[in-house]
């Protein structure tokens, strides 16, 4: 199998594949007398190989079940209405008593603001990139250059690890060097919004691209302007895909820890209301971290972790429903 004689670098992919096929044919051609043995041997190898492949497929399920199963089974032992509705008691050190109510509230506030900031920005950017940038792309001049820079920037943002966002949010918002917002809901929310912005842009772009060209042509032919077309025709048609991107971002914010560890503060008291932007707080994911690392209250950490996992499963189900409805709709066309 290591003999790649006829395959050279200068070949096209098709040619290289064809050469390999010929090689295969030649290597099996002269085995007619021992054909049966050969075939049996090849089948045996295939069986062994497929066995290993099955194992790795099953492994993914087993790993998932053991992590999720362990955390949920352990967590359910402390999970009850009281745990969900009591705030964690005390400060950092004493948070092994009490429940997790304020962390749920903090998480909801955090999700609200990140989405309020990131969703409009991301969707508008996606509309521009698909509906408006197409007509200038490929041309020369300032605007096409800027559009390709934007695409590059989105790609970079998607690859930046979350702790870098955290570091940047810490420098720009938290520390006194720039804005001096200290650890607060607003520091965390804006940094979190930056984190999910590429997710929303990419999902929305895909969704908008998938809207058939004929929709736009019909609308434009009726005398609608470009924006009217985008707003009244393209966006509604792309809505399920855009919503999927937003729900995905909600999941990302709920599970993110590193960013909020260095921007949200970690106090067990939640902000008073969703508009109490200057107060610090502690999301559910942060609560798991503090319980495990600072107070070693593993039972409560498991309880919070179980709630976290169930939230994520719910979000995944939601995405599946939306996607399925979308594909059903597309097939109906």
């Amino acid at each position: 199998m290591s003999n790649r004689g006829p395959v050279s670098k200068s070949m096209t992919r098709e040619d290289a594949t064809f050469a390999r096929l010929v090689q295969l044919a030649v290597s099996t051609e002269d085995e007619t007398p021992r054909e049966k043995v050969n075939l049996a041997r090849r089948r045996l190898i295939q069986k062994a190989a497929f066995g290993l492949l099955w194992l790795s497929g099953i492994a993914a399920v087993v790993i998932l079940l053991s992590v999720v199963g362990y955390v949920v089974v352990q967590g359910i032992q402390v999970l009850n209405l009281e745990f969900l509705t009591t705030p964690p008691a005390g400060g950092l050190a004493a948070s092994d008593v009490g429940g997790m109510s304020t962390t749920i509230i903090s998480t909801v506030y955090l999700v609200f603001w990140t989405i309020v900031i990131a969703a409009p920005l991301g969707v508008m950017a996606a509309i521009y990139l698909v509906e408006y940038a197409e007509e200038v792309e490929g041309g020369t001049g300032l605007i096409p250059a800027i559009v390709s820079v934007v695409r590059f920037a989105v790609e970079i943002l998607a690859g930046v690890p979350s702790i870098i966002y955290g570091l940047f949010g810490y420098a720009l918002f938290v520390s006194a060097v720039a804005l001096g917002w200290s650890f607060s809901l607003r520091s965390a929310a804006v940094t979190g919004a930056f984190l999910v912005l590429p997710v929303i842009i990419r999902a929305s772009e895909e969704a908008i691209k998938a809207v058939p060209r004929s929709y736009r042509q019909a609308s434009l032919a009726l005398g609608a302007t470009k924006w009217q077309t985008a707003w009244k025709v393209v966006l509604p048609a792309a809505a399920p895909g855009i919503i999927t991107g937003i729900v995905l971002s909600v999941g990302r914010v709920v599970s993110e820890t590193a960013v909020f560890f260095v921007t949200f503060g970690g106090t067990v008291r939640a902000p008073d209301t969703v508009f109490d932007l200057t107060s610090p707080g502690r999301s559910m994911a942060l609560h798991v971290y503090y319980l495990a690392m600072e107070t070693r209250a593993f039972d409560k950490a498991m309880g919070t972790g179980a709630v976290l996992i169930l939230t994520i499963i719910l979000i995944n189900l939601l995405i599946n429903v939306v996607t399925r409805r979308l594909t059903a709709k597309l097939k109906g066309r």
Partner: protein, 295 residues
């Protein structure tokens, strides 16, 4: 009137698109600005090659963290890649529809589980198991090996998803040609499908490496966070992985909240090093994909 609104909106949308560029610019500006004093005062080379991290004495070498990040990434690749690629081939080529509909959501969900939950599971289940399995003096269970296992699970979905797409993208006439010549399905996979999907598979692994280098909280929870250079605990060089370590990401997260002065600058410099590392990794993935597409 409608025309005026249309033009106005065009500019608003344009500005929203520019936001991404602005954010990248801000990230670079703030991280670099804070990191520069450290690079200037300590020097880039002494910082990258220094093995002593003692902020109180302004000794700020990050080589042991670079080593920690690289070693745990290698460990996770060694453990995770065979499983991830096996899973990808399985999903794309072998699995019956029913099984696929169970395995694929499982992989998706693995990607969605928060990293603190992996960290917690690692602390409670994996760390004691590793501590009890390898009776080497100094093995606390919080070490590179535990971290590699956790990280392997975390990069598995990334690699599996991208590799499966690459395998699926191989034209079916390639496979049919091979099967028609009497090759078994497995021979077809090895000699035709995988070579044809090569660039996508390599890109999948590289992107997995990028993901591994960036992981923070789960690493803090299981790797021990020792600032010392990882070294073998016993005679066997493999006991290197039983050594405690600290990743670049962990170094930032653990210390940034109380660091001041040069110490804080050095943490930003750690961020710059991490950023450059990951950009190089992601750029090479893009390069591999583009070259594969041009072939």
């Amino acid at each position: 009137m409608r025309r005026i609104i249309d033009t106005g909106i065009r500019y608003v949308l344009f500005l929203s698109a520019l936001a991404s560029v602005f954010i990248v610019f801000l990230i670079l500006l703030f991280t670099l600005r804070e990191a520069l004093p450290a690079f200037r005062e300590i020097g880039v080379i002494p910082m990258l090659t220094g093995t002593v991290w003692r902020p109180q004495q302004d000794k700020l070498g990050i080589l042991s963290m670079v080593a920690g990040s690289v070693l745990v990434t290698l460990g996770s690749v060694a453990l995770g890649v065979p499983l991830a690629l096996g899973g990808a081939i399985f999903l794309a080529e072998v699995a019956p529809q029913v099984v696929r509909e169970v395995v694929r959501p499982a992989v998706e969900l693995l990607a969605g589980i928060p990293s603190v939950v992996y960290g917690l599971f690692g602390m409670v289940v994996l760390v004691p198991a590793i501590r009890n399995t390898f009776s080497v003096p100094g093995n606390s269970g919080f070490n590179l090996f535990s971290a590699s296992i956790v990280l392997a699970v975390m990069v598995l979905p990334t690699i599996t998803n991208i590799a499966e797409d690459a395998i699926r993208a191989v034209p079916s006439d390639f496979k049919q040609g091979s099967l028609a010549l009497g090759a078994t399905h497995w021979q077809t996979i090895v000699h035709v499908t995988l070579p044809a999907a090569r660039s996508g598979i390599i890109a999948a692994i590289i992107l997995g490496v990028g993901r591994a280098l960036g992981e923070t909280m789960a690493m803090i929870m299981v790797i021990g966070n020792s600032i010392r250079m990882p070294r073998p605990l016993g005679g066997n060089p493999l006991t290197l992985f039983l050594s405690q370590a600290r990743t670049l990401t962990g170094n930032i997260a653990v210390e940034i909240k109380y660091a001041t002065g040069l110490h804080e600058d050095a943490l930003f410099a750690t961020g710059v090093v991490l950023f450059v590392l990951i950009m190089v990794v992601n750029a090479s993935a893009r390069f591999v994909i583009q070259r594969g597409g041009a072939e």
